[in-house]
C-alpha cells in the first residue's frame, strides 16, 4: 500500500481570497479518505486543484508518483484519477447506458479509419463499452435504469450514475464531491454500502461530505479544512476529539467553551 495522492503546501487564491491556503496531505491507496469542513472551507476548490480543473497558485500535487500540478483535467483523468461533481454533471439527455459508455472512452482504441471501415478494433471497442457499462450498472444495482434518460431520474440515482460513470474509467483514485448531498437516510446508507463494497475490492476513494454520520462511519482517515487551512488530519476518533475541529464546527462561545449543538 503506497501513497496515491500527495499535496505539498497547495494554495489557491482568487484575488485576495485564500480559498485554499497551504494544505499538505497524503492519501494512502486502499483507504477511504474524507475531507470535511464548514461551508466555504475550500473543500471543493481543493478537489478542483487535485483534479486539474484549477491550477494551484503555489505548491505541488503528486499523483501516483508524478507531479500533476500543471496538467489538464483530461491528462489527470487518463492517469487514473476520476471525479464526480458537487452538482451532478451527467449528460442529461442521454440514456444512463450511454452516459456510462462514454466513461469507457479512454479505454477504447479505435480511430477515424476504424470507425469508417468497422475494423476489428472498432468492434472490439463497441463490445467492450457495452459490456463494461452494463457490468458496472449491474454492480451498482442500476441496470433497470439503463435505458432511462439520465435527466429524468431522481437526484439520488443521478448521483449514483455519476459515480458508476467515473468507475468505468478504472481509476486508481476516485474523488467524490458530496456524494450523499440531497439523499435521504436510506439512499445514503445504500450509497455507503456501495462505497464500502468498492473499497473492499481495492478501490481508493476520497470524498467530501457534510453528513457526519456518513464520514465518521466509513472513512479511514479524515482531513478537516477551515477557511482554506488544514486544521486536522487523522482517523475519525482523533478528528472528533480535536479541539480546533470542535471550535470550527460549533464555535467557541464564552460560556465555558461548551458546544451547544
Amino acid at each position: 500500500m503506497g501513497e496515491i495522492l500527495r499535496t505539498e503546501g497547495v494554495c489557491k487564491y482568487f484575488g485576495g481570497l485564500k480559498a485554499v491556503d497551504d494544505v499538505s496531505m497524503s492519501i494512502q491507496s486502499g483507504d477511504i479518505f474524507g475531507i470535511i469542513g464548514p461551508n466555504g472551507a475550500g473543500k471543493t476548490t481543493f478537489f478542483n486543484v487535485c483534479s486539474g480543473f484549477y491550477k494551484p497558485t503555489k505548491g505541488k500535487v503528486w499523483f501516483d508518483g508524478q507531479d500533476i500540478s500543471d496538467k489538464n483535467p483530461e491528462q489527470i483523468a487518463a492517469m487514473g484519477l476520476a471525479r464526480t461533481f458537487q452538482a451532478t454533471q451527467l449528460f442529461q439527455y442521454m440514456t444512463v447506458l450511454d452516459n456510462v459508455k462514454i466513461g469507457c472512452h479512454m479505454h477504447m482504441k479505435s480511430g477515424f479509419m476504424d470507425a469508417v471501415f468497422h475494423t476489428g478494433t472498432y468492434k472490439a471497442d463497441e463490445e467492450y463499452a457495452e459490456h463494461s457499462a452494463y457490468d458496472a450498472l449491474k454492480r451498482a444495482g442500476l441496470e433497470e435504469y439503463a435505458l432511462h434518460k439520465a435527466g429524468n431520474l431522481s437526484y439520488g440515482i443521478q448521483r449514483k450514475v455519476e459515480i458508476v460513470r467515473s468507475l468505468v474509467t478504472e481509476p486508481k483514485l476516485l474523488l467524490l464531491d458530496e456524494p450523499a448531498a440531497g439523499m435521504n437516510r436510506m439512499e445514503t446508507d445504500s450509497l455507503r454500502e456501495f462505497l464500502e463494497m468498492l473499497n473492499k475490492e481495492g478501490q481508493t476513494i476520497a470524498l467530501i461530505e457534510h453528513d457526519m454520520r456518513f464520514v465518521m462511519g466509513c472513512c479511514h482517515k479524515i482531513l478537516v479544512l477551515n477557511f482554506g487551512k488544514r486544521i486536522c488530519e487523522g482517523p475519525p476518533s482523533v478528528v472528533i476529539a480535536d479541539e480546533e475541529v470542535q471550535r470550527a464546527y460549533f464555535g467557541s462561545g464564552k460560556i465555558g467553551g461548551k458546544a451547544s449543538a
Binding site: 471525479r83 464526480t84 461533481f85 454533471q89 449528460f91 472512452h105 480511430g111 469508417v116
Partner: protein
Amino acid sequence: MRAALLCRLLLYSILAGSLNITNGYSGQTSLGHAAFYCVGAYTVAILTAKCGWSFWLALPLSAVGAILLAVLVSIPTVKLKGIYFSIVTLGMSEIVRIIALNWNSLTGGSLGIKNIPRPRLFGLVFDHPLKFYYLFLIVSVLFLFVSYRVIHSRIGNAWMSIRENELAARSLGIRTRIYKMGNFAYGALWAGLAGGIYAAYMQYIDSAVFSLEEGFNILSMVIIGGQGTLIGPLIGDLAVNGLTELLRSIGEWRFVMYGILIIVMMWFRPQGLAGASDSILAGKKIMKRRTVTEKKKE
C-alpha cells in the same frame, strides 16, 4: 434546368451537412462555413485553371486546404466557448473572402477566375449538369456514409459528450480540445470538397459567392432543418431551396421570410424540424414536457 436544381440541392446537402457536424454534434456554433467552401473552390480553380493540374488531383487538395484553415483557426480558438468562438469564425469568413477579393495575382481579384477546365475522367468530359449531378451525388452519399459511421463511434460519442457537458467530458479523460479541433476540421473537409466541385461545375468563381450571406444561407438550412441529426440538414436544404424556388416572385422579400422562419423555429423547436430532440439543442422545454407526459402515463 432540372439537373441544375438537383446539383444545387446536393451541393447544399454537403455544405449544410458538414456545418451540422460542427454545430449540431460538437456544439461549437460556427458562422463561417463559407470560408471553407471558398478555400476549396479557389484551390481547385487556381490549380486547374492557372497551374494546369488535373481536377482529380486538385480536388483532394481543396479538402486539405480547408482542413489547414480549420486547424489554423482552431489553435487559438479551441479554448473559446459559445459566442466567442462564433465571432471568430465570423471574422474568419470575412477575412478569407477579403483575401480572395484582393490578392489579384492569385485569385484574380474582383474579376474572379474564369475558364476553369471541365474535369475529364477516362475520356468522359463533365460538360453537362447531369454529369455533375452524379459527382455531387457520390460525394454527398459518401459524406453521409462516413459521417454516420464516425458519429456512431467513439469519436462521435466524444463530440456529443462535449456538446452535452464539456466539464463532464473532460473529467472522463476526453481530450476535448483535440476533439473539437478534429470536429471543426472534419466539417471543413467536406465543405472544401463541395467548394472544389462547385468551382469545376460553374467554371467561373469570384469572391462575392462566398460572402457571409452565403454562410448564413447554409446556417439557415441547418437551423431550420435540424441540428444533431444527419437527416436534419437535408430537410433544411429541401425547405430553403424549395422556398427559394417557390417564392422567386416576391424577390428579396423571401429573405424576410427566412428570418421569420428562423425566429419561429428557435421559439418552438430550437433543435429544428428534424433535429435531435434528445439533446441539449432542444432546450429545457422538451425535457420538461416529456417528463410530464411520462409521469401521466405512469
